[in-house]
């Protein structure tokens, strides 16, 4: 490959210049983002283009990096829970769960059964809200404006429900080590029961109006094919791997909480493309509704916080623990090491979006720019989670 003779004329920072070093002669270096509407917040991708085709792409991260892992060094385990709601605003309760689950594993704390059901119900509601947000925003990326209005209408109902027990609408910090902050009251349970048939009634309309729409189909079918073997090399999980035909879901593979008692399916798609990932998420709406329905029927009476649950100044015992849950975007993992001191010695957060996005450089090679946007959106990226 010859070096671009115009290298010194390439405008840009460290990352652009570094990327341009190996650019081909006559190619164009283009920055997508970090301030671009189709990059969901502040993702930046540097691409090398030949006409409209992408020769090479490199995501540039860090614009939303807040160093949660450092913050964990100055907070006690209980004080760190609010950070978890801010790692991923789309599926905050998934992160809540991964963290308190890891602390519970470390300290050997058993959670009351009712709390497990409350966690499952709220976590699945949050998953629905996350998928709705993705669905609306993805179609917006692809040029369809109306669906997001419908999606946010549904999502609003979920936020209203979750506001009752959690007290917040987006960055929840509702789970506690040993349970949850408070029980679901009758109001809340009645609203959930009302919401389930309503959400179900919307799904056929979405299928007719959006999923089967010819413009959408032409934009996403056959675009961004990811082989399961590539998912393995990059550690992709969640709807990305399930959209490639592998039924991998932490709720099944390393079951936790009450999921083993529930009857639900793991939707997959053999298409492996953006359409496959789209179909998997749409199918997950129904599965989450099923889970919530069963939990409401099976939920026993009782406490939602274990007696003697850790107070803010509680010190985690010495040791290490890794706990993973299935978030809306894939496997959320929290690895903790404690030396028995006031704060945790090391907290490592595994963000599913981080691994899913690392695939992008390989998948986008040789596609046209408009398809790259369709691929990015199909990965369901939440940048604060990737940057942490």
């Amino acid at each position: 490959m010859t070096q671009n003779p115009l290298l010194e004329q390439v405008a840009g920072d460290f990352y652009t210049n570094n990327f341009a070093k190996t650019a081909k002669e006559g190619s164009l270096i283009l920055n997508l983002g970090p301030q671009h509407p189709s990059t969901h917040g502040v993702l930046r991708v540097v691409v090398e283009m030949d006409g409209e085709y992408i020769l090479r792409a490199e995501p540039v991260l860090g614009y939303l990096h807040r160093m949660h892992e450092k913050m964990a060094e100055v907070k006690t385990a209980a004080q760190f829970i609010p950070n978890m709601g801010r790692v991923d605003y789309g599926h905050a309760l998934g992160w809540n769960w991964a963290f308190v689950g890891a602390v519970e594993k470390l300290a050997g704390i058993e959670v009351p059964e009712r709390a497990e059901y409350v966690r499952t119900i709220t976590c699945e509601l949050n998953r629905l809200a996350s998928h709705l947000l993705w669905w609306g925003a993805y179609l917006l990326d692809l040029g369809a404006f109306t669906p997001i209005m419908y999606a946010f209408d549904d999502r609003e109902k979920i936020l209203d429900i979750l506001q009752i027990p959690t007290g917040s609408r987006l960055t929840y910090s509702y789970f506690r080590v040993g349970g949850v902050a408070q029980d679901l009251n009758e109001d809340c349970i009645a609203s959930i029961r009302e919401f389930i048939p309503w959400m179900r009634s919307r799904l056929p309309m979405y299928k007719d109006l959006v999923s089967d729409n010819i413009i959408l189909r032409k934009r996403i079918e056959g675009v961004g094919v990811i082989e399961p073997e590539a998912c393995r090399r990059y550690g992709a999980t969640g709807p990305v791997i399930r959209g490639s035909g592998v039924a991998y879901d932490v709720r099944r593979s390393d079951p936790y909480s009450v999921y083993p008692k529930l009857d639900f399916e793991i939707p997959t798609s053999e298409l492996k493309d953006a359409r496959g990932r789209y179909d998997v998420r749409i199918a997950e709406f129904e599965q989450s509704l099923r889970i919530i329905e069963q939990c409401l029927d099976m939920m026993p009476e009782g406490d939602v916080l274990v007696k003697g649950a850790p107070k803010p100044a509680w010190k985690a015992p010495k040791g290490e623990a890794y706990f993973a849950v299935e978030g809306a975007r894939g496997k959320i993992g929290v690895y903790l090491v404690s030396d028995g001191g006031k704060t945790l010695y090391r907290t490592k957060l595994r963000a599913p979006g981080f691994c899913n996005l690392s695939l992008f450089a390989e998948v986008s090679q040789g596609t046209i720019l408009a398809d790259a946007v369709a691929i990015l959106g199909s990965l369901d990226l939440i940048i604060p989670e990737i940057d942490r």
Binding site: D13, R233, Y234, S253, D254, K318, E320, Y335, R346
Partner: protein, 181 residues
């Protein structure tokens, strides 16, 4: 797991309790065995979950977590990188996703991954990329054996003392079943 690592130089291999710590196996490897071990895990259809470093008194313990799409459980491979020269071979050409994990570990702890194809800062600003925020003050570093689960030891190389408890300290490793590798 023993079969997977057969023939490779392994410093320490133990079966762990998944319900207790979230892993089923762990192995400390000499840096020279890492790439081979990664290749075998890839061939056995494992995927890389994450890479993280832990700043301990004995060095940076770089931990690679692997899981499987069909089998439950988790494998932890560990390499200890000394504080003076924290160099570890890169596995980014085996597990392509490792490229970013290794760059993140460099940003946070300053561990150098030799052979990473694009070893530039990932999450930190390039202008302040050498501050390594998660490095500990030497006085507050803990000992590996104090915090990491020893597990049921299957083999421990003769010179490897990282996980062996000091004389009377709380003995975690069951004594007696340590066979030379």
């Amino acid at each position: 797991m023993d079969a997977l690592l057969k023939g490779l130089a392994v410093d320490y291999l133990a079966a762990c309790d998944f319900a207790k710590t979230g892993k089923t196996w762990q192995a400390f490897l000499p840096a020279a065995s890492l790439v081979k071990a990664a290749q075998r895990l890839l061939a056995a259809d494992y995927f890389l979950e994450d890479i993280s470093a832990l700043d301990c008194a004995e060095g940076y313990v770089v931990t690679y977590h692997f899981a499987h799409f069909e089998k439950p459980g988790r494998i932890a491979l560990r390499v200890v990188a000394p504080h003076e020269a924290p160099n570890v071979p890169s596995i980014a050409h085996v597990f392509h996703g490792a490229e970013w994990h290794e760059r993140e570990t460099r940003d946070f702890h300053g561990v150098q991954f030799e052979g990473n194809p694009n070893f530039i800062p990932l999450l930190m600003d390039p202008d302040m990329a050498d501050c390594f925020p998660l490095r500990k003050d030497p006085k507050s570093r803990i000992k590996v054996r104090d915090v990491l689960e020893a597990g049921q030891v299957l083999c421990c190389a003769p010179g490897f003392g990282l996980m062996t408890p000091d004389a009377p300290a709380e003995a975690q490793a069951p004594a007696g079943d340590k066979a030379p590798a």
